[in-house]
């Protein structure tokens, strides 16, 4: 153990500690401030209390906005998953005329037309359709934005599943409906689960589209309400914002724990497209 080696080792762990602190410090507030009797913006050891939680649940919009978030996410996730699964399966197994051009176009679209780049036409279109303040309409817009990437990820997944399962089922006389329901769906479950989690997390954190398309406070999701609470300012809100941020984060954290336990966050083989 030469001195140079020791210095290098210490430098290495100091570096890791700095990185760890950089990522951890901003998140500590989310654990301390919700349960602090006198919450501030800085991180500190709290005077433990649950009074903030009670105040937050009494806030006129807090619970409704979380319900709205759930509603938006449920519709957007369901539409994305079902439509993407149907499309991905057909594109993977059937030689539809113009398939390769279509896939290329989808891949291009999914990265080029983002919510920010298309916010003006989307806003104008929804305005003229009279769908401003429609949660269902907003969920469909969100789903439309997620679909190309979802189709791509699922098609990649289906391509890697051997066809022999379906072939055997056909040989034994199963109808297409039976093949899809009893063979393809169970085999594709990990891929479908990925899409469910991916689209839920995406829709849950989406701020821009609900912010543009939902003007009525009673219909806005948590993403927009958090912004409104922040804008209103005032120290009174420091009792509501921390608890509300925590509540709003919980579903995503639970999903994250589930995924990292079950599958682990790794890229397998190719790169997410």
């Amino acid at each position: 153990m030469s001195p140079a080696w020791v210095v290098k080792r210490i430098g290495f762990y100091v570096l890791v500690a700095v990185v760890l602190a950089f990522f951890a410090v901003p998140m500590l507030w989310l654990a301390s401030a919700p349960f602090d009797a006198k919450p501030g913006l800085g991180v500190r050891w709290p005077d433990w209390t649950f009074a903030n939680v009670v105040t937050t649940f009494r806030h006129p919009n807090a619970v409704t906005s979380l319900v709205n978030s759930l509603l938006l996410c449920a519709v957007a996730t369901a539409v994305t998953t079902v439509f993407a699964a149907l499309a991905a399966y057909s594109l993977s197994r059937v030689r539809i005329p113009g398939r390769d051009a279509l896939l290329y176009l989808l891949l291009l679209l999914s990265s080029v037309v983002t919510g920010t780049a298309a916010m003006v036409p989307i806003f104008v279109m929804v305005l003229q359709l009279g769908l401003i303040d429609s949660r269902f309409g907003t969920a469909l817009v969100i789903a439309g934005g997620m679909l190309p990437a979802a189709i791509f990820i699922l098609k990649d997944f289906m391509d890697s599943v051997p066809r022999s399962y379906e072939e055997s089922a056909r040989v034994f006389g199963a109808s297409p409906r039976q093949v899809l329901g009893h063979v393809v769906l169970p085999v594709a479950r990990p891929g479908v689960a990925t899409i469910v989690v991916w689209s839920f997390v995406n829709a849950w954190g989406n701020f821009l589209l609900p912010f543009l398309l939902l003007r009525d406070v009673g219909k806005q999701p948590a993403a927009v309400l958090l912004r409104t609470l922040h804008d209103e300012g005032g120290s009174a809100n420091l009792t509501v914002i921390p608890v509300f941020s925590l509540l709003y984060s919980i579903p995503v954290v639970v999903l994250y724990l589930f995924v990292s336990k079950r599958y682990g966050f790794r890229f397998h083989g190719g790169i997410k497209s």
Binding site: F22, M27, L41, A87, S111, V113, T116, A118, V120, F267
Partner: protein, 300 residues
């Protein structure tokens, strides 16, 4: 019994016997939504961008086609050129340099620490990526605020309002924190493909860590670096989260392109003008995406 769709194996792998018509029926709902909410808006941007369409007033009821006037006005507009410069700075600082370097450093360093430390660090980095945007924006507002923010407490400096005095630097640090996870994941899987024997040889001939990275690792992951840089640049250029942190302020000092488009369109009501600016963002995205797809195709 002779059946029309008997030869299962000979139709490009249509093993479930779906048939082309039904397959098209399966693809149609997805294509309909994509058509209405992605393709149509993209094309419509082209049209709105050449009109004087406004949110309110006479030009709202009957917009006139003004040709390329919006584009000429944009290039002449100090706010627009300012915003282009800030967007370039944001992408370069936080994505091309920040996330790329930190992501690679994490992937490289964490492969040689104890598993519990590795899992903890990776977990935190991933959490920063996966928490909802409005929440992380508020977390950073709390860190950087002058009124008892954590950074002020740590540095014992209660007088600096970081988001006001250094808005772009704050946004860049924030976005590095927010988005490094993707680069870390990608480089972790890329590094796993570097043959350990080559690294071992480099070590035996006395190469330093940096020399090993440059001469052994980098040639193996060059494609990944390019892919990663393209993707994170695209996402960063289209990120709307800066709006939640600084809303473009103070005095347009952090008004990146997405924020400028929002403020022109929704706060200023200049829909036509804002569309012309969006078109530029779309064109930039298209350029990056085409390079990316070319790369993918060459590799496969």
């Amino acid at each position: 019994m002779p059946s029309v769709d008997a030869p299962v194996r000979h139709r490009g792998g249509d093993v479930a016997g779906l048939g082309v018509a039904r397959a098209i029926g399966f693809v149609a709902p997805a294509l309909l939504l994509i058509g209405v909410f992605l393709v149509f808006p993209a094309l419509w941007t082209l049209y709105i961008g050449i009109t004087d369409y406004q949110l309110t007033g006479p030009a709202a009821a009957a917009p006139k086609v003004v040709g390329l006037d919006n584009f000429a006005a944009a290039l002449d507009d100090a706010l627009f050129t300012n915003s282009l410069w800030l967007t370039a700075l944001f992408v370069l600082g936080s994505a091309v340099i920040g996330q790329n370097v930190l992501g690679f450093a994490l992937a490289w360093l964490l492969s040689r620490v104890r598993p519990w430390l590795r899992r903890t660090t990776e977990g935190l980095v991933l959490l920063a990526w996966i928490l909802p945007g409005p929440v992380v924006a508020y977390l950073w507002f709390a860190v950087l605020s002058r009124d008892g923010g954590t950074l002020g407490l740590l540095l014992d400096d209660p007088t600096t309002a970081w988001l006001v005095q250094y808005p772009m630097a704050s946004l860049i640090v924030f976005n590095v924190w927010r988005g490094t996870a993707f680069s870390m994941l990608l480089y972790t899987s890329a590094l796993a493909a570097v043959p350990p024997s080559q690294l071992e040889t480099a070590r035996l001939v006395g190469a330093s860590g940096w020399q090993a990275v440059r001469d052994v690792v980098f040639p193996h992951i060059r494609g990944h670096v390019l892919t990663n840089t393209l993707l994170i640049s695209l996402w960063t250029a289209n990120d709307f989260t800066p709006f939640l942190l600084t809303a473009g302020g103070p005095n347009h000092e952090s008004e990146v392109l997405p924020v400028l488009i929002y403020r022109q369109a929704l706060e200023g009501g200049q829909l036509g003008y804002a569309s012309a600016m969006s078109l530029l963002l779309l064109a930039g995205n298209l350029l990056i995406a085409l390079v990316y797809l070319r790369l993918l195709r060459r590799r496969s």
